[in-house]
Symmetry: D2
Subunit: 328 residues, 4 copies
Amino acid sequence: MQIGIIGLGRMGAGISRRLTAGGHECVVYDLNTANIDALAKDRAVATTSLADLVQKLAAPRAVWVMLPAGAPTENTVMRLGELLSAGDVIIDGGNTYYRDDIRRSKALAEKQITYLDVGTSGGVWGQGRGFCLMVGGDRAAFDRLEPVFATLAPGLGTIPRTERDGAASAQAELGYIHSGPVGSGHFVKMIHNGIEYGLMAAYAEGFGILQGKNADALPEDERYDLNLADIAEVWRRGSVITSWLLDLTAIALAKDGELAGFSGSVDDSGEGRWTLEAAIEEAVPADVLATALFARFRSRQPQAFSNKLLSAMRLGFGGHVEPKVKTT
Amino acid sequence: MQIGIIGLGRMGAGISRRLTAGGHECVVYDLNTANIDALAKDRAVATTSLADLVQKLAAPRAVWVMLPAGAPTENTVMRLGELLSAGDVIIDGGNTYYRDDIRRSKALAEKQITYLDVGTSGGVWGQGRGFCLMVGGDRAAFDRLEPVFATLAPGLGTIPRTERDGAASAQAELGYIHSGPVGSGHFVKMIHNGIEYGLMAAYAEGFGILQGKNADALPEDERYDLNLADIAEVWRRGSVITSWLLDLTAIALAKDGELAGFSGSVDDSGEGRWTLEAAIEEAVPADVLATALFARFRSRQPQAFSNKLLSAMRLGFGGHVEPKVKTT
Amino acid sequence: MQIGIIGLGRMGAGISRRLTAGGHECVVYDLNTANIDALAKDRAVATTSLADLVQKLAAPRAVWVMLPAGAPTENTVMRLGELLSAGDVIIDGGNTYYRDDIRRSKALAEKQITYLDVGTSGGVWGQGRGFCLMVGGDRAAFDRLEPVFATLAPGLGTIPRTERDGAASAQAELGYIHSGPVGSGHFVKMIHNGIEYGLMAAYAEGFGILQGKNADALPEDERYDLNLADIAEVWRRGSVITSWLLDLTAIALAKDGELAGFSGSVDDSGEGRWTLEAAIEEAVPADVLATALFARFRSRQPQAFSNKLLSAMRLGFGGHVEPKVKTT
Amino acid sequence: MQIGIIGLGRMGAGISRRLTAGGHECVVYDLNTANIDALAKDRAVATTSLADLVQKLAAPRAVWVMLPAGAPTENTVMRLGELLSAGDVIIDGGNTYYRDDIRRSKALAEKQITYLDVGTSGGVWGQGRGFCLMVGGDRAAFDRLEPVFATLAPGLGTIPRTERDGAASAQAELGYIHSGPVGSGHFVKMIHNGIEYGLMAAYAEGFGILQGKNADALPEDERYDLNLADIAEVWRRGSVITSWLLDLTAIALAKDGELAGFSGSVDDSGEGRWTLEAAIEEAVPADVLATALFARFRSRQPQAFSNKLLSAMRLGFGGHVEPKVKTT
């Protein structure tokens, strides 16, 4: 079927290419015309503006917005709300805060425009591997756009099937679900990313301890000379902790077991923070997620005020002066 | 090749059967004769005692001990030390603390018996899926026993291969490695289990927050009706957080989305605790692992003294009286 | 000076009595007339409604609202906004979320009514010990009401004075400060409570470990018979960890070293949650606060879904069945 | 009474001076003769060696060892074991691991020398403020040395007395206790320090969030200009979180509200680590302590391997490149 796609970065371009390869017609737009040109070479229909894109789509239209969460998505959705007509559908495939989905959906409903929030996981690998899709919003719109979701999703592939009863959603094992009312798609994706933070931190701590066992700081008879790349690789086969994140870890360590190209400073985006807020609202504990998030904060604040205060207290009660630390 | 196996529980029996299927001869012993009989029907050689087992093996012998860590393993290894001869090998495939390996290895070296510590992951699925093996100890003994390890390990299978340079261990991608000197196999396996604790906790927290979003306690317009089984299933395909633990989660939730058969009380074993101690010794942070371990402690202590003290303080400064909590 | 007080619970009554004792005239109101009568016997002026209270105050009026945060405070402040006149001051002494202060202040400014947010610490002990006050809002209103704050605050007392330079606020060491613009009083009080959560948890964990050292579960030669009441008492004198919360701990343990009257379930209120949200907004780590809050959540959820999922996974990969736990 | 003191650093010198001022006779030794000379001017009896110190004490002797835990204390205690006679007492006032106490006590018992482990809190302030003492070991030896403990402890002072029943230890409110068998004094002191880590971290996080609220990184209308020195000062009076550590915080912030003299790198010593190990052995949760300890580890590892691995994974799945971080 025909679909508009706005935002042709890593994710948006991958989505467009996978849809085109699956027989759909993509009408694309991006602020950067080079991105449009690149996709036009891959059989997408180029446009020159949002208005042009809307005009090139046959009603009832469907427009997939794949932009950074916050202002870029907000402004684009609002502008589309002006350009589109009753019966059209806007799909937000980005990482929008789910309460913003609910607000937007209400505003657009006044014009009988439907809003679907689609949590989209897969990153730069999605084009080849397929995207995992969690769709919130109107069920009829979901049904109408199902061919798009089915093409983007990985499908059954070679992954062993879970034994499920007859009532279970047929789509889930294909890689996409209708998760519920508007906002629920991004809510589920938000928790997905929250879990991702925790999983990443678990591997990071574990490999950190392995690496620490090789450290010169240990007495010689306490030290090993562990090969982290081999360990990541062997854990990929038959162990309890195999995962795709471990696959990526093995790839990274195979390239450089010292990870020398990285500074140690780690960024975070909204989902980890919002997951924590959701946990707090529900009074559900989220220690792993919290500490995973805070470890990233700490990684960016080598001279945190809180640490200085610890030293000030230590000096105060015990006369302790901190040793100097090497920062390489 | 021929190998003795002591301990025919879930893991030991699986190891024996996988080795037999792979063309090796297993000479087996267990305190429970029913376990011996069952394997004898599967072409293993039954024995009546440790001494009988040792006698039925041709020198140089190899004996795989697959017993609970602590006294059962310790006593068996020490007894084997008396029964075996120079040139023989004892393999501890259990979850022994790695410093115990080092101690035992030294003691056995006096009789020229070699001790290998083999971290073995795979659980009840290992027989079919293959076991992930991390082997510490004498390299020559590892080389001699490699046919056994190669049979037990999963092999390349259908898992995408990591691009590695020529110097990389050929075994790692087959599912077994020689990790270094004695103790290193169990050290690496210990960290594996530590990571496992963290991964499990990350999923548990995430699904806890999803389930909390369905809770009656929330205002109605804040609530969703999320299908956790579908969500686990969809995340298995194309998402960043796919993993074998997620596969197991999907299986469990497909059977019962409420997990009603579980009490909420969760046990822990030594590896999680030792991983934390290793982190402390190395001065490497392990917040995720720590909190994952402590959450299990808490799950078993619904009336913890520490909690009572919080309430006592709250009563003291604010006159607060705690609300009653339902325990179903 | 004359001041209206609305809300005569534990805190409000204490504030009224301390002000009256300090020579101020309190005009009081509460939904519960028994609370009004009790204070009228202590020389407060009784009123029959908000309107009556406003009428009994001479302009420019000052009204201290001491009610639970949320709807009770919100409704009262809004109603006062209707009843009061330009030049009057509303003081919110409760635990309001600081962004609500900012919103209310803006709304009231349209009628030239000033709004002060006063973080008030001291609990049930404040009447005798004095209240610690953090005041946000218009500086001139703070100055006009300073006699009230000075009376409520503890004053210098016998606490050793900190050596401070001449530019330092004279009020801080008397027990009250003007912390900045509207909202800042409750912001500072919110962080105060966040720290309180962390301090309480630190003591709770420590005493939990002491009590665990007495536990029958330990091998006999690993056990002590520590007297927790004595330990709390001795730490009050000369140790690094003396504090008022430790004083309260010592009082509670002197009454009952087993704390048998408490269930182990611990409530939480808004400030701990908001402090965490503030930390997240600022990207400042708050691991201690987070885990202190989550421990309270856990204390109320002995059969948490997240724990059940851990058990489901353990059953899945290892065939582990959890041991039964006694809940007494 | 007469007592030998070995180790005249900050703590040992303070102990000697407080005992001398209290009418006791101190026979002192230190590897640094300048330290001996300084105390000799303060009426202590100087000695030239351990043997000389032993000779200058009348039997039955009591020798207080106040040295860094580990080798310095171990070697000195063992040497004293050779020099002293049946009926003499060795007091270890340092921060020894409590299992080392038990081992030493057994060894010394063979020569009928008694070993007391005395957890000693008070830091550089102890000489004036008094030391908080937790004494493990033989009760009769404790009774004999009680005059020493009573002099070192703060006594009742001006601290409000806790209402305790008649059976309660009379000593606790004077600032010293007999905590039980050997090792228990250092066990209780270890937990004291564990709590200290948690309390310090709670304040550090809270002040970190306050300071973050002043940060230029926030939007201007989200920012306050909080005076941290005033806030620390005001919380000392009447608030729930008053404590001695807060007193020290107020002193430090009064000197420099930016704490510019500190690097942000924070050291740790054995007690925090051992407390965590004790918690693990008892299966008692200690999240606050753990995260407080790990925050110190992190403060010393700005380029931790675990952080680099997080970035490597982020690059792997999402093509994310970390932003540069300023380290000033």
